[in-house]
Amino acid sequence: MPIENVILTTDNCRYCLMCRHVASVEHVIHREALSPHGIALVIASVQRGLLQWNADTVGVIYSAADNGNSRAHCVFDQPLPEAIAAVRAEIVAQKLAPAVVYDLDARFKEWGNPFKQQKPQPVAGRGEVALFVGDEAQYLWPATVTAALALLKAVGISPVLVGMGRSNGYLASSLGLPETARRLAQATLADLETSGVRRMLVLSPGDFFTFNQLYDERLGIDWPASVQLSELTTFLADCLEGGEIKFKKTTQRAPYAYIDPSHAVRLPARHAGPRRLLARVLPGPARELFWRCERAHPVGSTALQFTQPDIAEKLTLARLEDARQSGAQMLISDDPGTLKCLGDKASQFGLRVQGLYELLAEQLD
């Protein structure tokens, strides 16, 4: 985002308080400076010489969750997350970002992901449909991929796997590393070209947002018009509706809740799909979190897990407490990053976590 647009956005947001009701970080930390308007005011105040970039101000800028809540609830669609990402890039360029950001940049450049010192696997084969695996499914919740392949097989699709072990570019963009993010994005696009696919399925709303919106808005990269993008959850819900896939019910009767993953608020049309699928396979009573659907809060799976791990943990714990209060005993989600965060802490709340795709694959009829 050019600097004039950053100024326009932060000047619009610095005194606007209208998205506080969905400001996930402020809800768990309570500091006004960490609210969307507080972050915008800090940026505007640096621009006006009232503050300087230092550990305090940079810490504020790196405390934004970048999960889309503020923008999704802005009547006039102010791109504050994009402005914050642009400001982070300026901070990185001035060598003032937290040390972990530079470490992560090196990891992305060397390994294509922040989780494991392993190169991404090259795309193998060609076909009509691709499944984007990415780094989180590959390294944080690998059962997702096996289950997704079984589900797709049931509807007669053998997808080409792309981006295996490689980040989609969101994290790098969010951290203020646009060039690194562009490199990762170009690698994904090269995979698509090599495989010749016409459609790409993704495993999470975060992937969908990244390819569908972030590439264009933050990185200036066009998504290929010849490749249709779909979220696997939505695709499966449509298959269920059309009778192309069938599931049997489990014997599991514990109350359960679907956890809308990080970034779910960016896709307002997706909320019914996973719930329809779960209602088909789970006879137990469905519970709902207070923070759900259009007001869903993220877990700590965004860049916060690296830059502000305390805040990231508080976000995850807040989701688990919300789930506990709903009366659910089993939590289900589809996004591998969300599942990892929940899975690491769920036992503290007496809760079990299961991947949506694994559950569905087990119940294929």
């Binding site: 005194y15 308080l17 006004e32 101000t57 009547v75």
Partner: protein
């Protein structure tokens, strides 16, 4: 302001012992962000690159007991305590103009009980109003304080300045929904007001805290009245060519107790500018949205009678769509880039009066502002939106699109416009405001507003707050 560094650290340590170190901040970012609320004055000041007085400490208490202990510290060292809810006030009531302890109550955000038999909710005062609404919606109920600031303001912040909401015409102001509350006094005592507001056990002293804006204590918990979510909401719009007739239509609806939940009457200037900009309608005249809710049959009958009043007075029935569109977009007026915002100068000089005076006030204020500041290109717009059986609120606003760039000059001009507006309001029998509160901005008019009764309020302040620690400089009370 605590200037001695040794003492500064000592007090910080004491505060941290009470609330925990993670709930005390002295970061420069926090100090700057908490140095302004939603008032134009401090925002303009920062916008021009000028620094404001900041709090010395930002403290996030978790309970009334912790606030009580903080009061002990403030009294011991004679340092100000400024309560903070959502910071969405327009009058500068939350500005820490003398430094001290800024008490952000948003950590106290729990719902304690929802009583579905009595239709009440008890919650901590730091809860965001919209969160409270979502929670009671899940039980088929509503908290009918539908303020434009519901997304960002707190329950305590609705009560302390006597706030109101979009549907107040039927459901009342926030204070009308209040049954009881817990308050921490400036001297540290934690008290509870009687469990119900309507009784005859002596004077109605609990109302002293409503409108006190943190100068007489900190509201920490409140029990509020709820209502059932309405089965039907019928909205419709009409257009009058004559403001007087539109006001008369509203008066007749109220005095005949038709119970509209909303009558939003935009004057010609607002219709021409605000309504066109946000809703896209090119109406010429006074655009009025009227709404009835509850039982569908009763609401339909009420609407039918209201429409007869309007058409008898010459209104054009615009149908449902312009009413429903307004309802769906009623808060869009407050989102940038279409809200009033810097670098413009603006102010909401809202007032309330009885029906016999309100139109005179409108014209007098309009004349005072438009003629007094014609050289500044001032615009005056207004709407009438909170109606009572006896009168109505005028939400009047002034806008100057090219104010002076020098911060001091801009502030002086701003204060002169306010003086002109308030003098015309008081001279014609209006109150200096209906629901935004007094804060810092209107403090200077309190003596004139209350006349011989004002010293009594000063004595009450001294009794409640002998060391003058609570939100000094606000609601007419000095330091």
């Amino acid at each position: 302001m605590v200037t001695d560094q040794f003492l500064y650290e000592m007090i910080r340590s004491e505060l941290a012992e009470i609330v925990g170190p993670e709930h005390v901040s002295t970061e420069e970012t926090d100090k700057l962000v908490y140095s302004t609320d939603w008032a134009w004055m401090p925002q303009m000041w920062l916008d021009r690159g000028q620094k404001l007085r900041t709090p010395d400490y930002i403290v996030h208490p978790g309970s009334a007991e912790e606030i009580s202990e903080i009061m002990d510290i403030a009294n011991k060292y004679r340092i100000p305590v400024v309560p903070w809810g959502g910071g969405s006030g327009t009058q500068g009531a939350a500005l820490p103009i003398f430094g001290g302890i800024l008490l952000d109550t948003k950590r106290m955000n729990q719902i304690i009980a929802i009583d579905e038999q009595s239709l009440t909710v008890t919650a901590q005062a730091g809860i965001i109003i919209e969160h409270l609404e979502w929670a009671v919606n899940e039980k088929g109920l509503m908290f009918p304080h539908y303020a434009a600031s519901s997304n960002c303001a707190t329950l305590g912040g609705a009560l302390a300045p006597r706030g109101t909401g979009t549907i107040s015409t039927k459901y009342g102001k926030a204070e009308d929904m209040l049954l009881s509350m817990q308050v921490v006094l400036p001297t540290g005592e934690i008290i509870r007001t009687p469990p119900v507001p309507q009784h005859a056990a002596g004077p109605d002293w609990f109302r002293l805290f409503l409108g006190s804006e943190g100068t007489l204590g900190v509201i920490t918990e409140a029990t509020m009245r709820l209502d059932y979510l309405p089965e039907a909401r019928l909205l419709r719009a009409v257009l009058f060519d004559d403001l007087s007739k539109a006001l008369e239509a509203g008066r007749l609806m109220m005095t005949h107790r038709l119970e509209p939940f909303v009558i939003r009457l935009y004057d010609h200037a607002s219709t021409r500018t605000q309504v066109r900009k946000i809703l896209g309608y090119d109406f010429s005249g006074a655009y009025v949205v009227i709404g009835f809710d509850g039982d569908p049959d009763i609401a339909a009958l009420q609407e039918q009678k209201a429409m007869k009043i309007c058409t008898d007075l010459g209104a054009i029935d615009l149908g449902r769509e312009p009413g429903e569109k307004w309802w769906d977009h009623r808060y869009d007026f407050y989102y940038p880039p279409h809200s009033l915002k810097l670098p413009w100068m603006y102010g909401t000089t809202e007032t309330v009066a009885t029906f016999d005076k309100i139109e005179r006030i409108y014209w007098a204020e309009k004349e005072a502002v438009e003629e007094g500041f014609a050289d500044q290109g001032v615009q005056f717009i207004g709407h009438f939106s909170h109606w009572f059986h006896w009168g109505v609120m005028l939400y009047s606003r002034f806008i100057i699109e090219q104010p002076p760039q020098d911060a001091k000059e801009a502030l002086r001009l701003h204060n002169r416009v306010w003086n002109a507006a308030m003098q015309s309001v008081i001279a014609n029998g209006g109150m200096i405001n209906e629901h935004h509160g007094v804060g810092l901005k209107l403090s200077r008019y309190m003596r004139k507003q209350y006349g011989p009764a004002w010293p009594l309020l000063l004595k009450l302040k001294k009794t409640f707050d002998p060391n003058g620690i609570m939100n000094p400089g606000k609601t007419g009370f000095g330091f």
